[in-house]
C-alpha cells in the first residue's frame, strides 16, 4: 500500500515539475558549471488566455448545445422547413440568372485584376528592405492597414452611396479589397527576397524603381500571380453576396428570391449555379497557379 501512495506521490510530483518547467523554465547547468537561462515562454500563457476567451465568447453568444439541437429539430422554422419551401426547385428559371451570374464573374475578375495591379507599386513602398525612407514606409503601411480594417461588404455599401447602385460599386469594393490583401502578402514576400541582384543593378546607376522591376520582380512574379489568382478565387464568393447591399451581381437576385416566399423555389437554382461557377473558377485558378508557381 505504501508503495502505491509513493507511486501516486511521485507521479503528482513529476507532473507538477513538468508544469512548472513549461511556465517558468529554470536554468540549465551543463558541463564545467556553465549556466544557460532559457527565455521566458509565452506559448503556454497564450493557450490559457485562448481557453478563457473561447469560454466567454461562447457564453456571450448563448452558444449552447441543447438550444442548437432544439432548433435543428424544429419542423416549423428549422432546416427541414426550408426543404419543404425550396423543393422541388423551379429549374425553368435558369436563363434569367445567366446575366447576373456573368456580371458577378466580371466584377470579380475586373476587381481582382485592378486590385492586383495597384498592389505592386504599393508593395514596393511598403517593403522595409526596399524603401529606406522611414516616413514613406510608415505612412504607406498605415494606409494599407487602414484599408484592411473594414470588411468588403461595408466598402460595397459605402460605394453604392458614391457611385450609385450596381456593379460599379461592387467592382470598386473588390478592387480595394484585393489591393489591400495582395499588397500586404506581396510586401511580406518582398521582404524575404535576396537583394543581391537589386544591389548589383543599383550599382550600375539604375534608379530604385527600375532596379526593382529588373532584379526583384522576376523573383516575386510567380508568387504575385499566385496571390492574384487566389484573391480572384476568394472574390468570386464575395462578389456573390455584394448584391445584398445593392452593389451588383447575383447576390441581389438571391436576396430577392429568399425573402419572397412565392419565389422560394428559385433559391436552390441560384445556389446551384453559384456552386458551379465557384468550383469551375477554383479549378481553373488552381491549374494556373500550379503552372505559374
Amino acid at each position: 500500500m505504501t508503495n502505491f501512495f509513493k507511486a501516486v506521490y511521485n507521479l503528482i510530483k513529476r507532473t507538477l515539475a513538468v508544469i512548472k518547467d513549461i511556465f517558468v523554465p529554470g536554468k540549465i547547468i551543463i558541463k564545467d558549471g556553465k549556466e544557460v537561462y532559457p527565455p521566458k515562454p509565452i506559448g503556454p500563457y497564450v493557450v490559457i488566455i485562448l481557453i478563457i476567451v473561447v469560454y466567454f465568447a461562447a457564453k456571450a453568444t448563448d452558444f449552447s448545445i441543447p438550444v442548437l439541437v432544439r432548433r435543428m429539430l424544429d419542423f416549423k422554422f428549422g432546416p427541414f422547413s426550408l426543404v419543404k419551401r425550396y423543393f422541388p426547385p423551379d429549374w425553368s428559371f435558369w436563363p434569367e440568372i445567366i446575366d447576373p451570374l456573368l456580371e458577378t464573374i466580371q466584377m470579380s475578375f475586373l476587381g481582382s485584376f485592378l486590385g492586383a495591379v495597384f498592389a505592386l507599386p504599393a508593395a514596393f513602398f511598403a517593403s522595409s528592405n526596399i524603401n529606406k525612407n522611414k516616413i514613406l514606409l510608415t505612412s504607406s503601411r498605415l494606409i494599407l492597414s487602414l484599408f484592411r480594417t473594414l470588411p468588403i461588404i461595408i466598402y460595397a455599401s459605402l460605394f453604392t452611396l458614391i457611385f450609385g447602385l450596381g456593379a460599379v460599386a461592387g467592382t470598386i469594393a473588390i478592387t480595394l479589397f484585393t489591393f489591400s490583401i495582395v499588397s500586404k502578402m506581396l510586401y511580406e514576400k518582398i521582404e524575404t527576397v535576396d537583394l543581391g541582384a537589386f544591389e548589383a543593378i543599383q550599382s550600375t546607376g539604375a534608379s530604385k524603381g527600375k532596379s526593382f522591376i529588373t532584379a526583384v520582380l522576376p523573383q516575386i512574379l510567380p508568387s504575385y500571380y499566385s496571390m492574384s489568382l487566389y484573391s480572384f478565387e476568394i472574390n468570386i464568393r464575395y462578389a456573390a453576396i455584394l448584391g445584398y447591399v445593392g452593389a451588383g451581381g447575383i447576390g441581389f437576385d438571391l436576396d430577392n428570391v429568399m425573402k419572397n416566399i412565392r419565389l422560394n423555389d428559385r433559391v436552390v437554382v441560384i445556389l446551384f449555379f453559384i456552386l458551379i461557377v465557384v468550383v469551375l473558377i477554383e479549378s481553373l485558378s488552381r491549374f494556373l497557379r500550379g503552372r505559374l508557381g
Binding site: I201, S203, T204, A206, S207, K210, L221
Partner: protein
C-alpha cells in the same frame, strides 16, 4: 583617377571601419586589396561608388568629388561609369543569361521599356559582345541558375562590361570558387584590364592570388593602409604587418 585624401568611415552604429586612408589610383591599374576579414576592404571599395558615404576626408573619382552632395540623377550617372562584382555573383535568378547582362543597360532606359523588359538591338549587341569577351556566348539563352559558380561570375563580369565602365570594383570575386575556376576568373579580369584598360580594384582574401594577378597591392589592417606597393615588394615581414600574424592555410588558395 581615384584619389583618397585622409578618408575615414564611421558607420552609423559607431564602428570605425576606415581611418586616414590616402591613396592615388591611376586609370588602368590592377590593384588587389588584401587584409583580414573585418579589416575594411569592402568598406573601402563601397566608398568609391558611394554605396556607403565617406565620413571624413575627401574622395575624388574621375574628377567627381564623392560626397553628400552627390545624389539623385547625378549619383546614378556617376555610378554608370563604375562596375561592381560581388562574391555571391548577385545575378537575377529565375531568368536567362542574356537578361542578366542586359540588366546593365536599364539605367539608360525609360521606366516603361524596362517595365516591359524590351531592349534595343544596340543593347543586345553590347550584351552579346560582353558574353563573347568572357567566353560564354554559347550560354546566352540558358538559365543562370543552371550555371556553375565560375560561369555565374563570368556572367556577372559580362554584365559589368556591358555597362561600359572605366572602373571595376570587385568584392572578393573568387572567394567562393575552387582554385582552378578562381584562376580562370582572375585571368578574365587580367585580360579585361589589359584590353579595355579598365581600372580594376579587387578585394582578395587569398594572398597568393593577389600576388599572382595584381601589379599593385594595398594591405589594410584594422581600417588603416599598412602597405601600398608593387606585388614584388611583398615579403614575410610585410605580410605579417598586414595580417598581424603568421599566414594560415585559410589565407592561401593554394594553386
Amino acid at each position: 583617377m581615384i584619389k583618397f585624401e585622409n578618408v575615414g568611415k564611421i558607420y552609423p552604429n559607431g564602428t570605425e571601419a576606415l581611418r586616414n586612408v590616402s591613396l592615388e589610383i591611376e586609370q588602368g591599374q590592377f590593384i588587389a586589396i588584401v587584409g583580414l576579414s573585418g579589416a575594411g576592404k569592402s568598406t573601402l571599395i563601397r566608398l568609391i561608388n558611394k554605396m556607403h558615404d565617406v565620413t571624413a576626408g575627401t574622395l575624388t573619382v574621375n574628377d567627381t568629388v564623392v560626397d553628400h552632395t552627390l545624389t539623385g540623377k547625378e549619383l546614378r550617372r556617376f555610378r554608370r561609369g563604375i562596375g561592381m562584382i560581388f562574391q555571391s555573383f548577385n545575378l537575377i535568378g529565375r531568368t536567362t543569361v542574356i537578361k542578366n547582362v542586359l540588366a546593365a543597360r536599364v539605367s539608360e532606359k525609360s521606366f516603361f521599356t524596362s517595365l516591359i523588359g524590351w531592349y534595343s538591338k544596340e543593347d543586345k549587341i553590347i550584351a552579346l559582345n560582353a558574353l563573347d569577351q568572357v567566353g560564354i556566348l554559347e550560354k546566352t539563352y540558358g538559365r543562370v541558375d543552371q550555371l556553375s559558380g565560375g560561369q555565374m561570375q563570368r556572367v556577372a563580369l559580362a554584365r559589368t562590361i556591358a555597362q561600359d565602365p572605366t572602373i571595376i570594383l570587385a568584392d572578393e570575386p573568387v572567394a567562393s570558387l575552387d582554385p582552378i575556376t578562381a584562376n580562370q576568373v582572375m585571368s578574365d579580369f587580367e585580360r579585361i584590364n589589359k584590353e579595355l584598360s579598365i581600372t580594376i580594384i579587387a578585394n582578395m582574401h587569398h594572398v597568393d592570388l593577389a600576388l599572382k594577378y595584381a601589379r599593385r597591392v594595398i594591405g589594410i589592417n584594422d581600417g588603416e593602409v599598412v602597405f601600398d606597393g608593387p606585388a614584388s615588394a611583398i615579403n614575410n615581414d610585410t605580410l605579417k604587418k598586414i595580417y598581424g600574424r603568421e599566414l594560415t592555410d585559410d589565407d592561401i588558395m593554394d594553386t
